[in-house]
Symmetry: C2
Subunit: 293 residues, 2 copies
Amino acid sequence: MHSTAASTDPVRRAIAVFDSGVGGLTVLGALREAFPGTDFVYLGDTARVPYGTKSAGVVTRYALEAAWYLSQRPLAALVVACNTASAVAIPDLRRAHPDLPIFGVVEPGARAAVAASQRGGILVLGTEGTVASGAYPRAISALRQDAAVRVVACPLFVPLAEEGLVSGPIPELAASHYLDGVLDDSIDTVVLGCTHYPLLRDVIAARTGPHRRIVDSAAPLVEELRPRVDQTSPGQGDLTVLTTDHPTRFLRIGRRFLGSPVTEPTRIDLEALVAEERRRQGGSDAFLLGAAA
Amino acid sequence: MHSTAASTDPVRRAIAVFDSGVGGLTVLGALREAFPGTDFVYLGDTARVPYGTKSAGVVTRYALEAAWYLSQRPLAALVVACNTASAVAIPDLRRAHPDLPIFGVVEPGARAAVAASQRGGILVLGTEGTVASGAYPRAISALRQDAAVRVVACPLFVPLAEEGLVSGPIPELAASHYLDGVLDDSIDTVVLGCTHYPLLRDVIAARTGPHRRIVDSAAPLVEELRPRVDQTSPGQGDLTVLTTDHPTRFLRIGRRFLGSPVTEPTRIDLEALVAEERRRQGGSDAFLLGAAA
């Protein structure tokens, strides 16, 4: 179903950006700014958001369903903007879609951290699922063996960002609650390991202090994607936004995450589409794993 | 598939309690305490939690799927412990299962509020979905026409309760954030319109003050269920707990909500079970609406 895009490829191929909800719009915003001529398709799984509190197995299944659906379009690449899904589902996604370049956000975040850190003391802030996966310590240690990585789950940061409570005493106390016990002198770099957290950057920075660097995945992800974009037939900067729930809340909240008004989303019933395909395949889920591609 | 239980019914019928996740354990705890000889089946849809930020359509579909699954057992009643699902899905659930007594938590909460309120000034705290539904103002006004009902969404209360942050400055500030602008002299009663909020009762009470009553659905729900329990063959106080995601997080968090250790849950893959039934029904969803029962 997929073939890799080459410079002579006449097909207009979009970059698909997949996320559990609105958070990935922070990633989409950075990509759209870097690649204004590229077409993007954004899918937010708002009917099943959040992924950060769910098990690796469930998150992987949701990611496989999204990738199956998105891969029916001609794609230049699939970006898994959600840290939790990046942390647990990338190997299965790559197995299911061997011809589609798939980019997560954990490896770019790890590269940004290693590039920023002088002494190798790195604190990663993420969801419960990202923390439980151990993906950041693995990715950082693979790049710098002597790195000392700590990870902290910050569950309140997601609802604070979604509610727009990104300054003032409530987020300040939440940042203090999560950070005060773990910030010691060895840590010189802090990774925003969830797409929601860049909205709280100022509050987090006030707590971590001016002598520590704060990094996220956006800039290194842009550089990782640049060769793919250069090889792909140029688009027209089109943006298609899809959500799995009714888009009212997505539209209201999304603007803060994208940094600009959000294109009116089209709702897709992903569960029903998967069920229909499963029925066509005689009840088998193998198509999600790439067997029917 | 269902038949109402009578006092001569030889079948042991459980009361099913359905919730989006762990929150409904506060309701289950109250029911188990009131009816120690009754068997209960609890289903937490942890693979798709929370419902409070999702649309009425999606929440209704999830509730219909849960009710379809639960109704395959002999049941004395189905309790929809989730306020959001109670607010939007009860009519569809009753149409789909006309012979199964179905109890939501909005009407009991409304009755508790009207019984407690002297002047009819009632403030309902709930999820975004419950607030958007207008279910509480409708239910309260039906009982007391001159009631003046205000509803406020308190999105941070759910993650605060799940994280165990139920005292101290963060929940205090959150309570202040939601309540200070709406608590005027006319309000004498506050409804905890979400199963998570009873965990924050002390913090909320400190803000609402000693002259206002705080009510929730548990006590009136118990009274509403009592005739059903009396008609049903006694069980042995058995509790079966089902979750749609891996139960690790549910077990860890659930204890605080139930007030005692939680029975080890069995995981069910509700989406796959629904898909399998849909396949058996030739691709139709009519079974969820009761057409195949």
